[in-house]
Every structure is written in C-alpha cells, then in structure tokens.
C-alpha cells in the first residue's frame, strides 16, 4: 500500500497507469450507511477502468448473505446490487474464511461467487494493492 486514500496528486510517471484498488467491507449491511456507501463508491470506481477488487471481512461478510429481508426495518434490500458487479467488470470478490466461519456461514450462503481466503492470503493481497479503502 503506497497511499492511504485515493491519490489526488498524480505523479507524472504514474499518470495513466492502472492502479490496484481494494475496497474493504467490514460492517453489517444495515444499521450504518457504510456498506451501501461503499458499494456506491465501488460502482463509481468502475467508470475509471482501474483494477478493482473487494474484500469482505468481519461483519462485512453479512453484506453478501442470501435472503436478506429488510421490510421490518423499512430500508431497501440492496444485496441484489452485488450481483450487478459482474456487469461492471468487477469480478474480484474476496471473503475472509475466518469471518465466515465465526458467523456460521459458508460460501453457499452468499449471493455471488467469491474467493475465500485465509488471513494470510488476505494480508498478502492487501499488501499488493496501490490503494486500500476501508468501509
């Protein structure tokens, strides 16, 4: 990781180069605005033709759980939008194995295909990014 948040200063030699952006999702989908706002940023980022990946860790894995029923809390169920990411050419979704396991979840409980990674693999992947943005 060479920058903490989206590089506003563009150095000449890096201008035009595709950067590796990772958006890290750590929070449950409802109760705070982080998950939805994070998803919106991801959708917008797709317009800039960068190398975008998403990581889901801690309660963030709940964002991808099938069968979210939100009528009772009177908010929109935005989980189907994760299925639209493929159409935006965002196909690198990584889920932390331990976070899944700690919540009694498996890959079959998720609405989109993901790659499940160990702590160590996730750390390596994060270290390989140009920019990591956490929600």
């Amino acid at each position: 990781m060479t920058e903490s948040t989206g590089g506003i200063e563009v150095e000449e030699e890096t201008a035009g180069r595709v950067k590796k952006f990772m958006f890290v999702n750590r929070k449950a989908p409802y109760g705070t605005i982080y998950a939805l706002e994070g998803l919106e940023v991801v959708l917008i980022s797709a317009a800039f033709d960068q190398d975008v990946s998403l990581a889901f860790v801690d309660d963030g894995v709940y964002e991808l759980v099938k069968g979210q029923a939100t009528k009772g809390i009177d908010v929109k169920n935005f989980s189907p939008t994760y299925r639209a990411l493929e159409g935006y050419d965002i196909e690198k979704l990584y889920v932390d194995a331990e976070s899944l396991k700690a919540r009694g979840l498996t890959e079959e409980n998720l609405i989109v295909p993901v790659e499940v990674l160990s702590n160590e693999e996730m750390a390596d992947l994060m270290a390989a990014q140009d920019v990591v943005i956490s929600f």
Partner: protein, 110 residues
C-alpha cells in the same frame, strides 16, 4: 413536486424523477417522456422495459456503459451502442430513459 394524471398523483424530486418507484405505470412514462420531449416508439419502450427489468433484478439504475453492453446482449449488437441509445434519448440514455422508466438517477451519473 408532483404531477397528476386521471386523478392519480405522482410525487417527483426536484429533477423530475419519480420518488416512489412502485407508482410508475405507462401513463406516468408517457407524461415523463413528453416532459423530456421524447416521442415514444416501440424501440423506446424496449429500452424502458429493459431498464425496469434491470432495476428489478439489481436494485440500481445501470451506468451507461453497463446499459449498452447489457442491451447488446439482450436485444442484439446493433442496439448495444451509444449511438443507438443516444438517438432514442438524445439528452443521455441513462439519465433520460431512467427518468421515463421511473428509476432513480444512475449512480455516478453527472
């Protein structure tokens, strides 16, 4: 803001987008199209219906790039182009067609 057709009231935001998506019907679409100065043909309806299906599936209005690609896949490559969609909706397919389809403004649409 709002408009009324045959005694039914439709609430809109300050840019004219429907606030309550479930209120949308063909009459509302015709009214919104007229406001946008779009003469609705079968080709227009095809895109509008496509957008409604897309929203129903994914809960978002697609970005223009995603829309053209998806339309090309579903309705044939000759329709999956910016040129085709801009001919139908000259002031921006995503913006104009989404408004007529009763969808929110696409995320990242400027």
């Amino acid at each position: 803001m709002s408009f009324e057709i045959n005694g039914k009231t439709y609430e809109t935001d300050e840019e004219g987008y429907l606030i309550n998506l479930s209120e949308w019907d063909e009459e509302a679409a015709k009214y919104l199209a007229k406001e946008e100065k779009v003469d609705m043909t079968d080709n227009h309806w095809e895109v509008i219906n496509f957008l409604r299906e897309y929203y129903n599936d994914y809960q978002i209005a697609p970005a223009i790039r995603v829309l053209t690609k998806a339309i090309g896949k579903k309705l044939g490559p000759e329709k999956g182009s910016n040129k085709y969609l801009y001919e139908l909706f000259p002031y921006g397919p995503a913006k104009q067609a989404c408004k007529i389809a009763g969808l929110p403004k696409p995320t990242g649409c400027i």
